[in-house]
Structures are given as structure tokens and as C-alpha cells.
């Protein structure tokens, strides 16, 4: 089975500005991958190439084995842009109906109702887009992206305008999609959201992926600190399992042990370390 999305040596230049500089990434079917990075890192460009909105300068990208941007590739994706707008004069169910026709979905009224319920807008089917709050529009945008049961969903900052309740709805929705086997590529600045829902995370800085792995792998152990009479001694490579051995060795060496701290870095620490490391170099 081909990957839901894969790209090799993907590069994009806008004039003299490098947006992507040789990115390799793979999203497997049913996998939820988070793409993290500061503003201007190239996250949106990567997603736009996957959607066929932007042409790469070099490299290649595929969606379910089809070249990104081809009609076959576009038929399998759902997309919500970071800066999106829907016509204010359309009602929620009309917007979904329009996208059903464009996506050649035969879901009809049942699909529209299900999608609106999924994003917590069941009572807003007849509401005009212009009368909706930004948060409601963002949830409607997610429902629009889900029209036609896409195999790959690409969400660019889908929770940026949402309140905590809206974020919770989207988080539950993402977990539900994962349960259904939908692959998701999620761009977000909200590290806690990504940490909670994503199977894997890639950190993109300056158009390059500088770190990748599961949230647990990236939020790696940060070593052990032992407070002794003579001061604090660090064991940066040590893990929790090694604490008894370390303490025993220190005591055998005549040290008096007052406190032992097992350190672990969060995804945020790793992210900041990666971003600052690249920025400084």
C-alpha cells in the first residue's frame, strides 16, 4: 500500500527566498503526523505542494502514490488552509453541498449532517458563513475538508481561532479520524495539541526538517542530577533505570546523597532547542 503522502528532496524557492530545501517526509495511511516550526519555516508551502497549489522547484511529492497536484491525488485529499475564507453569502449546508459536487461525493444530506455534527455545528446548517464567528468558520472549514471521505487530510493551523472547547472538539475529531484510518498532516504552533494526538512529529526550520520522531522520542530523557554534599553532579546520558546504580556507586565512593532528580525534556524543550540551534548556526 503506498504512503498517504511522501516527498523526496522537495525544494521550493520564491525568487531568492528558499521556502523548502530538500525535505523528505512520509505519512502512512492512518497516521497522524504533526509538522512543527516557526513562522516562515516552510510548513504551509509543504502542505500547498501536497495539495497541488504550489509547484515544487525540485524534488517530488506523491499522494497515495499519485503525483501531488494531479487530479487523482487531489481526489483523495481534504485541505484546510491557514488563511482561508468561504463566501459570506453561502449557508453552511450549501458550502458543503458545493464541495460535495466538486469532490464528486455522493454522500448527500446524510454526509452533510454527519460532518456538521462531527465539528459541533449541527445546529448551524442554515447559518450563513458571514454570520459565523471565526471559530465556527474554522470548524466548518474542517467539515469542508472532510467532504468525500478523504484518505489524507491536510490541516494548516486548524485550531488557531478556536476557544478551548473548539480545540477539544478538533482534538477528539482528529483521534476519531485516526481510528477510522484517515491519514492526517497537521501544521500547528500548539505543541501540546500535537504532543497529545500525533503519532509522529517533524520539526521544520528554515525549509529543512531538523528533528523527527514520535512525541515520546522527541520529549527524550534529559539525564539525572544528584545533589551531593560537594554540589550537584550531572549524568546527562543516564535514565531513571540507572538511578539505583548511580546512587550506589556514589555512596560507595564516600559521597553523601541528599537528592536525586530524573530530568526529562518536553516536546517544547526539544522544539526550542531545535529552532534556536538552527537560528544560531
Amino acid at each position: 500500500m503506498p504512503a498517504a503522502f511522501d516527498c523526496r528532496e522537495l525544494s521550493k524557492r520564491y525568487g531568492g527566498t528558499v521556502a523548502l530545501a530538500g525535505v523528505d517526509l512520509e505519512v502512512q495511511p492512518g497516521e497522524l503526523v504533526g509538522l512543527l516550526g516557526p513562522n516562515g519555516a516552510g510548513k504551509s508551502t509543504l502542505v500547498k505542494i501536497a495539495c497541488g497549489l504550489v509547484r515544487p522547484s525540485a524534488g517530488e511529492a506523491h499522494v497515495v502514490g499519485e503525483p501531488a497536484g494531479s487530479a487523482a491525488a487531489r481526489a483523495t485529499i481534504g485541505y484546510l488552509a491557514e488563511l482561508f475564507r468561504f463566501p459570506e453569502w453561502l449557508r453552511a449546508h450549501e458550502l458543503l453541498s458545493l464541495h460535495q459536487r466538486l469532490a464528486r461525493s455522493e454522500g448527500g444530506e446524510a454526509e452533510r449532517r454527519e460532518l456538521l455534527e462531527l465539528v459541533g455545528l449541527a445546529d448551524a446548517a442554515g447559518t450563513r458563513v458571514g454570520a459565523m464567528s471565526k471559530g465556527m468558520q474554522q470548524r466548518l472549514g474542517i467539515a469542508q475538508a472532510l467532504v468525500g471521505t478523504p484518505g489524507l487530510l491536510m490541516l494548516d493551523e486548524p485550531t488557531s481561532a478556536l476557544d478551548p472547547v473548539g480545540r477539544r472538539i478538533v482534538r477528539d475529531l482528529l483521534l476519531e479520524l485516526k481510528r477510522r484510518g484517515v491519514a492526517v498532516l497537521l501544521n500547528s504552533h500548539l505543541l501540546s495539541e500535537v504532543e497529545r494526538v500525533c503519532d509522529r512529529v517533524a520539526i521544520l526550520v528554515g525549509g529543512r526538517i531538523v528533528a523527527r520522531g514520535s512525541p515520546a522520542e522527541l520529549a527524550r530523557a534529559g539525564g539525572v542530577e544528584v545533589e551531593l554534599e560537594s554540589g550537584v553532579r550531572s549524568f546527562p546520558e543516564a535514565s531513571r533505570e540507572q538511578v539505583p546504580k548511580i546512587v550506589a556507586e556514589l555512596v560507595a565512593a564516600g559521597e553523601r546523597v541528599y537528592e536525586v532528580r530524573v530530568l526529562s525534556s518536553t516536546l517544547e524543550d526539544t522544539y526550542l532547542e531545535a529552532v534556536e540551534g538552527v537560528t544560531a548556526s
Partner: protein, 285 residues
Amino acid sequence: MSGALTVAAYALRESTRRRVFVVVLLLTVAFLALYGVGTEAAFDSIDAQAAGAVLDVNDEVLTGSTLLGLAMFTTLFLGCVLAVFLTLGAVRGDAERGLLQPLVVRPLGRTALLGGRFAAAAGVCALYVAAVYTGAMVITGVAGGWWPADPVSPGLGLVAGVVVIAALSLLGSIFLSATANGIAVFMAFGAGLAAGLLGQIGDALNVETLKNIAEVASWLLPFEALYQGGLNSLTESIGGNTALIVQLGPFGGAQEAGPLLWPWAAAYLLLIAAAARAAFARRDL
């Protein structure tokens, strides 16, 4: 329903919901009402003056053809306004507002999207100018008893002219922001009209340079030549002193279209379509 038809229906529904058609309809009714009043007054006036006429001129023909020529010019202008406002922000403008991307990622494809937008705009504009021209012709005939010998050709010239303008505006919308595109198309429209007038002057005074300028402009901007051709067919059957006087008027000196105009207009539309397709396919959104 194919993707292009879905987009066309969507564009038409947008115009309906935004009450574009209501505004256009009200203003057009106001124009035709004023035209009716003016035409009635003009024919009444020539009836009263006919007894003292010195030249052997058919006043009904002179007045009717001149007024309907004026109505054709106004119809072309109104059609141009409609074509521009229906298309000026269709690509870059909508992309900058984030409206276009959700549509483009769907499987219908960029060419179908452009085709749908063009079909909607061109269809509306064509129907509109045909209706206004027909209305003005009926008013002229009912008020003064003058009907053009060939009532269809002038209308066809207008329809083809606004279709070309809609295509140009859609092409411009790929490269330019909405405001810049609107300005560019209106300036092209004005340049085309100015070139047509220069051609008329060149014909009257037999100045080759002016005639050449008009000819080049009519190849570059064939909507003007199509309009001129329609205008010419309005008056070409008029003879005698009346024809002479009509030719001297602002709407009577139009150049004949020539056999290549319509094939060139069709080829021109195809060239615009090819250029728009290629440019839109390469455009990052």
C-alpha cells in the same frame, strides 16, 4: 454536472445573492426608460420640423439610426462594466482573499474552474447586451417607426464584443490584483474606442496613419472592431443624402468589419483561453 458547470452555477448564484443582477436590472430599466422618453421626444421634434426641411433627408432614418447607435455604444459600455465586475478578481483577487484555494484543490482542475467562471460571466454579459440592444431597438421602432434593415448583426457584434472583454478581464485576473485588473481592462476599453474614433476620422479625412492605427488596434482589441462592425451593419443599407448625414454623425461612420473579423475574434478567444490556461497552471496559490 461537470466541474465547470458547477463553478458557473456557483458564480451565478454569487451574483444573485449579492444582488448584482437586481442592481443591474434596476439601472438598465432606468436607462431604457430614459432612452424611451428621449427617443419619443426626438421623433416628436422631427415631425414638427419636417415641414421646413431644406435637404432631402429621411428624418426618421437619421434620428432612428443615430439614437440606436448611441444605445449600442451605451450597451457596450454597460456590458463592459458587467463583464469586468464579474471577472476582475476571479483568480488572483480570490486567491489573495483565500477563497480560491478550497476550490482549486478539488479534482475539477484549474482549466475547468476558469471555464466555469468564463461561461458564467460571458453568458450573463451576452444575454444582458442582447436584451438591452433588443429593448432599445424595440423602443426606437415603436416610438419612431424606424427599424434597422438587419436587426441581428448589430446585436451579434455587441454580444461578441462583451464576450471578448470578459475573456480579457479573466485573463488579466490571473496576473493582476482586482483593482489593477479593473483599471487595465477599462483603459483597454477606452483605448479601443479611441482608436475606433481615430479610424472614423481617418476615413473621413483620408489620413492613412489614423486608419492604420485604428486597424492595428482592431486586431489587438477586436471588441472595438466587433462593435464597429455591428454599428456599420445598422446603417449600411441607408442611401442618398440621409446616408451622407448619418456618416457624419458620431455613430454613423463605423468601418466595415471585413471577412476576417469573425474568424479572428474566434481565434483571439482561443488564444486568450490558451494563455489563461497556461498562466493559471503555472501560478502558485
